[in-house]
């Protein structure tokens, strides 16, 4: 009987409607993304960056090739020459193909000097496939500091 | 678990006895056949740490029952890390499975059906079935070796699950199932040529003719 009354009077539907009505005047959960930049976690794995020593400005990379070894997609190419005097390897070029990257973080995990790092930048879209191949200059500067790149958030 | 303390060499030792008829259940045999690429002793090198290895099942009621019922059907009964593996002859595979499902063992749930490819072995394909019984809670693995052109009996009449799983095995390994109602490719396009999960199918290999025809790409970039 009660079930029948509930059904006739649409009690349950009205209960649901009351709930939605309550939410109409509650806090807004949506993030206004392009206008406000989302704050991402510190560990977020986004655009890659090749870090420089903040004091000397020299690259931290010691060209050990571990990152290229660790990458499942084999997309990192580290080129280096051996300095005849100090017998150390000197980085000449470093390419990173973001179009194939899984953003798994295995490369930054193995890097002994924290040279390669995946940063919180995530706006990686480009207009052509060629510009997805990042060279050393772009990796060191970071994506949004490259000239001609439009930054969507202020 | 205490049985696992046996030296790891135990499993390969008893392999020669089994010879071709049923083929070794352990991938060790296949590994050797696989152009001897991974040196078989590699796993034995550090003798200090005991590694898990294939154990012969000794007093396993299911193995005894099967041996009694199918004297020629059961090639071996082993276990690895506590998971029992029964290798059967291909000819009697259908009967053994029907028995496992119908008898009081009641393996009513076919968990998985798949295939392994031991390239270079005369019986290169190894069918692997995982069975589970909702009644007793047992999980077992059945294996049967087949040559590349041999027909494997279809399980789709015993478990309906097998229908798609066998289509997938056909798709990926080219296993021909006898008695399957509708053996077509399932994941790859119907007119694709080649069986991608076989070991001689290189990862970069693609059916170029198919790509040219359907995607109209002349040359697939390296």
């Amino acid at each position: 009987m009660i079930g029948f009354l509930r059904r006739i009077l649409l009690i349950d539907i009205f209960k649901g409607l009351a709930l939605t009505l309550r939410y109409t005047y509650s806090k807004v959960y949506t993030e206004q993304y392009p206008r406000e930049k989302v704050k991402l976690a510190e560990r977020y794995r986004g655009a890659p960056r090749l870090n420089n020593d903040p004091e000397t400005g020299e690259t931290l990379c010691i060209s050990c090739d571990l990152c290229a070894e660790a990458c499942p997609e084999d997309l990192i190419v580290v080129s280096s020459v051996r300095d005849p005097e100090s017998r150390k390897k000197v980085l000449t070029e470093y390419t990173f193909d973001t179009s194939r990257c899984l953003f798994c973080g295995l490369c930054q995990e193995v890097c002994p000097t924290n040279a390669i790092e995946l940063t919180q930048d995530f706006e990686l879209a480009t207009y052509d496939r060629k510009s997805m191949l990042w060279n050393r200059a772009r990796l060191e500067k970071g994506w949004d500091r490259i000239e001609g790149h439009k930054v969507y958030h202020k | 678990m205490s049985e696992e303390n046996k030296p790891p060499g135990a499993a390969p030792e008893d392999q020669p006895e089994q010879k071709k008829s049923g083929a070794p259940a352990a991938p060790a045999g296949g590994g050797e056949a696989k152009a001897a690429q991974p040196k078989p002793p590699a796993a034995k090198k550090p003798p200090a740490k005991k590694l898990p290895s294939y154990e012969e099942l000794t007093d396993d009621p299911l193995l005894k029952d099967l041996r009694g019922r199918f004297p020629n059907g059961i090639v071996s009964g082993q276990s690895f890390l506590g998971q029992p593996i029964y290798t059967t002859a291909l000819e009697l595979l259908g009967d053994v499975m029907l028995y496992l499902r119908g008898s009081e063992w009641a393996f009513d749930y076919l968990v998985d059906l798949t295939c392994l490819d031991y390239l270079g072995d005369p019986k290169r394909l190894c069918m692997v079935y995982h069975l589970y019984s909702h009644k007793s809670g047992r999980l077992i693995r059945i294996k049967a070796r087949a040559a590349a052109d041999e027909m494997v009996p279809s399980m789709s009449t015993i478990w309906r699950t097998a229908d798609w799983l066998e289509r997938e095995a056909f798709d990926m390994y080219g296993v021909e199932f006898s008695g399957h109602p509708d053996l077509r490719r399932i994941l790859l396009p119907e007119d694709w040529v080649g069986y991608p999960l076989r070991k001689d199918y290189d990862i970069k290999l693609q059916d170029q003719a198919w790509i040219r025809k359907h995607l109209r790409i002349r040359k697939v970039p390296e």
Partner: protein, 370 residues
């Protein structure tokens, strides 16, 4: 095709999908119709096939892991768990207690997130938009937790062989506690919107009924199997990864219809919350990664590691030939097998119910096609 049917009309064959939003991805169902009634259905899958199993054979054990995030992309954490448990078993690696606990916690969070996404889209397909918005709000909270801990929201690359990548970040426990404190009220809200709603009941009760025996015959697992009254949950039946130390109930249904499967998933969310509560209470300190050799080379052997994913039994059958590359990694995909029952479930129902049934099976095409 030529046989006259009831109204002496021709049978009609139509395609549903692959670009149909209600098929949750690229699933194409060829329906044979008599008017509105479905006579037969045939699934065409494979549009998303990327050959993950083949890729695994060409990667080392460590490098395989990120690819499994991309099979069932809704439940990436569970996928990782199944695989690392298998490899750890083969390698006989001891995982520290803290890592074990965090793994269980995150897998249960993932189960909630996955069920929320399922509820959201299922309700949306049937026509309840509000639930969709609410579910995504909660799911967002979980994804934020993932982001803080794993560094990614969807393709988490959650666990490593032997433990975790990094320890819990500061503030994580509080955030997790806050979530689980609020969560029961949220589930009640969804239930308020749906459980007694006439439209919802009419659309789901008696739709896609399957008996327990038949469900077993079709190899169903997860909520579709439990909806038919079979209490098979791997966390209970074959406990793995430390689940035997937790208290939770396994809900089962009575009628095996879409409505029961809905109720089961709702209850599972509450049970997952209970497990998370226990993990948070007992969370031990200590290291997060066990002793792992630098190169992972399991001995010759094989292991089937099955776990209870949000969608059913997710299995990894790992065969090692003693080298650094797996000889074979077979993924036993729960939805691939559950989807097989679609043909049987939709027979005799209306076209609109097909949507409800696809929804109730909770398919993820990334996993079906691998």
């Amino acid at each position: 095709m030529d046989e006259p049917t009831i109204l002496d009309a021709q049978e009609l064959e139509i395609n549903m999908g692959p670009q149909h939003p209600a098929t949750h991805g690229v699933l194409r169902v060829k329906l044979k119709l008599d008017g509105e009634r479905v006579l037969d259905a045939d699934c065409v899958i494979g549009y998303l096939h990327r050959g993950v199993e083949k890729i695994s054979e060409n990667r080392t054990y460590t490098k395989c892991l990120p690819y499994y995030d991309r099979t069932d992309y809704i439940a990436a954490v569970s996928n990782a768990l199944g695989y690392v448990l298998g490899v750890e078993k083969l390698m006989e690696i001891e995982v520290p207690e803290r890592a074990v606990t965090v793994r269980i916690m995150m897998t249960e969070f993932n189960r909630i997130a996955s069920h929320l996404l399922w509820l959201a889209t299922h309700a949306l397909d049937i026509g309840a938009l509000t639930v969709f918005l609410y579910c995504f709000r909660e799911r967002e909270e979980i994804l934020k937790l993932f982001e803080n801990l794993f560094g990614a929201r969807l393709t988490t690359h959650a666990f490593r062989i032997g433990g975790l990548w990094m320890d819990l970040p500061p503030g994580f426990e509080e955030a997790a506690r806050k979530f689980i404190d609020e969560f029961p009220a949220r589930v009640d809200e969804y239930e308020q919107l749906l459980t007694n709603n006439r439209i919802w009941i009419d659309r789901t009760k008696g739709i896609g009924v399957i008996s327990g025996e038949e469900a077993i015959d079709y190899g169903l697992s997860g909520p579709p199997l439990r909806g038919s009254g079979v209490p098979y949950d791997l966390r209970r039946s074959r406990p793995y990864g430390g689940y035997d130390q937790y208290e939770f109930d396994v809900p089962v249904g009575l009628n095996g219809d879409t409505y029961d499967r809905y109720l089961i998933r709702m209850e599972e969310m509450r049970q997952s919350r209970r497990i998370i509560q226990q993990t948070l209470d007992r969370l031990p300190g200590g290291p997060i990664r066990g002793k792992v050799p630098r190169i992972i080379k399991p001995p010759v052997g094989e292991y089937y590691s099955g776990i209870e994913g949000p969608r059913g039994e997710l299995g990894y059958y790992i065969v090692s030939d003693g080298s650094a590359f797996p000889f074979r990694v077979r993924i036993r995909p729960p939805t691939f097998i559950n989807l097989q029952a679609l043909k049987r479930l939709v027979k005799g129902h209306l076209v609109a119910d097909v949507i409800a049934i696809i929804g109730t099976l909770d398919v993820v095409l990334g996993e079906i096609d691998r």
